[in-house]
């Protein structure tokens, strides 16, 4: 069941013009530049620095609480990080050059890396140092600058948006969790695509560029890799592509054909939600201090535990759960690897709601810093909008548990339903889903314990 949102004339007109989307990207770029400048030369006090407050509180809140759950990869459509590289690649800022020509070495990304393993590694790398990055403006600025430099470099060497598709650490989880969103970009009628020989949505035309995300829209079946750049909407000569409003989580209803890299992404995100909830907002100050003391013996121990949890312990426990389910049920032809990857779909709603619950706590408590930072983004004593003196105020701290608990329970319910569905679609008995259900329940109880105890 779905409704073609982009068939509404006004929305169609907006999506076909380039100026609105470009303007939003330029605006995001301005914020990006401000975040970098603030990080490099502004106050080192994080709560008075635009780079920390607007990246890790405001932008993160928008992303994880609104954009990803409700609009999928909409952020990717206006993200400023790949923009300069793409402009250089296209030698055009807004309107496309004839034929959608690109000026880049155009190398193909190595086949072995055409997955999200590098994105997983990138995310782990940032997450490992997040106690420093999230609180140190200079570190944030250097990370953002690093992302942009890599994005620009990649654009000049490789084809299209290779950075976004295979390297961006943020894109990895946005793509995974966008499967939950009630928004999708798909073809209206696959038969139309089959008869369309030019495939301008992928090759480009005078009206625009071939899919920057290296996807053939005609074969798009889930949100994971589509960056909602709407380039295909502009280049399709058959008006056969649309943005649909659909049932939330529709991508997850097909529980077969998932990949190991995405499974690991789901496990990494769940593990990091636990670790962040314990270290960054937990009551054990020594953990936070250790996580910040990069280079010390304690930090290396923390790093070891962090990586072990992400790469071995949690995946190992999940593997045990899937294996136990296979033992309980009658044997099926599916390999353990495929079962593991397919059952990992439960981690999408589980992990997303874990991140929503975690983010609610620090966003609601710290969001009020945004008002003073708007007036004094660099902490230099400015007062542009008269709000510099506004004091920190936590928002509805008493209501936090009442928000976190339902969110986590929604995620658990969806995960349990998916576990059952996966068992059924693989020809297993429903009892096969029980160990995975226990895993999901234990994870939720663990998070509830952290937030409520």
């Amino acid at each position: 069941m779905r409704y073609a949102l982009s068939e509404i004339p006004l929305i169609k007109r907006v999506l076909r013009t380039r100026w609105l989307q470009w303007s939003l990207t330029a605006l995001m770029l301005l914020f990006f530049v401000l975040a970098i400048i603030a990080g490099l030369v502004g106050t080192p006090a994080g709560n008075r620095n635009f780079g920390i407050v607007f990246v890790w509180i405001v932008w993160w809140a928008l992303l994880i609480l609104l954009l990803v759950p409700f609009a999928g990869r909409l952020w990717c459509g206006v993200c400023p990080i790949p923009a300069p590289g793409e402009w250089l690649q296209r030698r055009a800022l807004v309107q496309p050059r004839p034929g959608g020509k690109l000026y880049t070495l155009g190398k193909q990304w190595p086949r072995a890396f055409r997955n999200i393993w590098l994105q997983n590694a990138g995310f782990l790398g940032v997450a490992l140092f997040s106690s420093v990055i999230l609180t140190t403006p200079m570190a944030t600025a250097l990370v953002l600058l690093g992302f942009m430099i890599v994005a620009v470099g990649t654009s000049l060497v490789f084809e299209r948006r290779t950075f976004c598709r295979y390297l961006c650490p943020v894109g990895g989880f946005i793509g995974l969790y966008s499967q939950v969103a009630p928004l999708e970009l798909r073809v209206k009628d696959a038969a139309v695509c089959a008869s369309h020989t030019e495939k301008t949505c992928y090759t480009g035309s005078d009206d625009g560029y071939g899919c920057p995300w290296l996807i053939f829209p005609g074969g798009l079946t889930n949100n994971t890799a589509c960056g909602l750049c709407t380039e295909c909407l502009k280049t399709c000569t058959r008006d056969n592509i649309a943005i649909f409003v659909r049932q939330p989580g529709a991508d997850l209803l097909k529980t077969t054909g998932h990949k190991l890299d995405e499974a690991y992404k789901g496990l990494i995100m769940l593990a990091c939600a636990f670790i962040y909830s314990t270290v960054l907002i937990g009551p054990w100050g020594v953990l936070k201090e250790t996580a910040r003391a990069v280079g010390t013996r304690g930090w290396f121990a923390y790093a070891g535990i962090f990586l072990a949890l992400n790469l071995a312990i949690l995946p190992g426990l999940f593997w045990l759960a899937v294996r136990s389910g296979q033992t309980i049920s009658q044997p099926v032809k599916t390999t353990m690897r495929k079962l593991f990857s397919d059952y990992a779909a439960v981690l999408v709603p589980l992990g997303l709601t874990a991140w929503v619950a975690f983010s609610l706590s620090f966003v609601l408590i710290n969001f009020s810093y945004a008002w003073s930072v708007l007036s004094d983004p660099l902490g230099w004593g400015w007062n542009l909008l008269g709000t510099a003196g506004l004091k920190w105020t936590p928002y509805i701290p008493g209501l936090l548990p009442y928000l976190q608990v339902p969110v986590l329970l929604i995620g658990l319910t969806a995960a349990l339903a998916l576990a059952l569905r996966t068992a059924r679609q693989h020809g297993q008995s429903p009892w096969a889903a029980v160990p995975v259900a226990i895993f999901c329940t234990a994870a939720t109880l663990g998070l509830l314990g952290l937030y409520l105890a």
């Binding site: 770029l29 301005l30 530049v33 106050t43 080192p44 006090a45 994080g46 807004v94 309107q95 660099l378």
Partner: protein
């Protein structure tokens, strides 16, 4: 052709926007700041205070001019700090993380002024110091400073001393000493001379004085206490109490017994002689304190403890504060 011209105009406009974002916007930020500084009428210096192991004060060296008012903008990204610049009369009690404190300074005399953190911010808190160099013509001629008394007298601060065996059986009282209305010898009435004596020496000289033959040993100790305290101004004593709480209590304990949390791992005198007790000095230990002259204590305070963990306070205390502090340390043994 028309489409091409339209595309060209559109691209030019977009390029203008990009240049605005990437060039004009950053230039505007720095330009606005430069304009603010120029029109403020007062020079502003941003000082960031971090725990010493993360860098301490940044910058930790400033150069100011005599007569020029400078606004110090203090902030901290980690824990609560404080700032004192004793020579310039600056005392900021709290620099809370994430908040900015502004204080104006107008030096009137050239010279070097130490500044230090006044809130116990880490185990290396005492290292959190800086220097302000004030240059330019001074309206007054700077007087040459004499070396401190312990240097003038050649007192060896690190020589191991035996504790006195004779100690009071009850806590000596300055009030009781004053009430005895006894005549004190000049050695004890002249502060300059008294500071070179140990309380134990004073006890011996008073004990053998025939005028005090009728007094008990505890009475004589009370006379010693009175001798040490009779010239201490209440305001100076109160100042010393504040300084002790701020600078000493973390290691020596609020009760002076040496059990403060910050002093747990400090070597103390055991660094020089393993037979000596570890950790900060216990000011309630009558044997050692009554065998230490004020001059010796002055030296320890001014110079610090040579690897014992005791910081130097010579750059932070005035002479008056120093002697008042020593009187305060005596108060752990001598009651009112």
């Amino acid at each position: 052709m028309a489409r091409g011209r339209s595309r060209g105009k559109g691209e030019l406009f977009a390029l203008g926007v990009v240049l605005l974002v990437l060039v004009a916007f950053p230039a505007g930020i720095f330009g606005y700041q430069a304009w603010r500084v120029a029109s403020a009428g007062v020079k502003t210096v941003d000082i960031v205070a971090r725990a010493p192991e993360q860098g301490g004060f940044s910058p930790d060296r400033l150069t100011l001019r005599v007569g020029e008012t400078v606004r110090l903008r203090l902030s901290s990204p980690d824990v609560v700090h404080g700032l004192t610049i004793p020579g310039l009369g600056v005392n900021v009690e709290e620099i809370y993380p994430g908040k900015v404190v502004e204080v104006d300074v107008t030096p009137t005399q050239s010279g070097r002024y130490a500044f230090a953190c006044t809130r116990w911010c880490s185990v290396d808190h005492w290292r959190m110091r800086g220097v302000i160099e004030v240059i330019g013509a001074s309206p007054q001629v700077t007087a040459t400073t004499e070396p401190p008394l312990f240097q003038q007298l050649g007192v060896d601060l690190d020589a191991m001393r035996h504790a006195t065996q004779i100690t009071p059986s009850a806590r000596p009282s300055t009030g009781a000493g004053a009430a005895l209305n006894a005549k004190l010898p000049q050695d004890l009435t002249d502060p300059a001379k008294r500071r070179t004596l140990t309380p134990a020496d004073a006890f011996h000289s008073l004990r053998v004085d025939p005028a005090n033959a009728a007094l008990s040993d505890d009475d004589v100790w009370s006379l010693v206490a009175w001798a040490w305290f009779k010239d201490v101004e209440p305001a100076a004593f109160a100042r010393a109490e504040t300084l002790y709480a701020r600078d000493c209590a973390a290691c020596h304990g609020p009760d002076g017994k040496g059990g403060g949390p910050a002093g747990v791992n400090l070597p103390g005198l055991a660094k020089m002689d393993p037979a000596m007790p570890k950790g900060p000095a216990n000011f309630t230990d009558a044997g050692t304190m009554l065998a230490a002259s004020d001059v010796l204590l002055q030296g320890k305070l001014l110079r610090g403890g040579m690897g014992t963990g005791m910081p130097e306070f010579g750059s932070l205390y005035t002479d008056q504060e120093l002697w008042a502090m020593i009187a305060y340390l005596r108060a752990f043994l001598f009651g009112k």
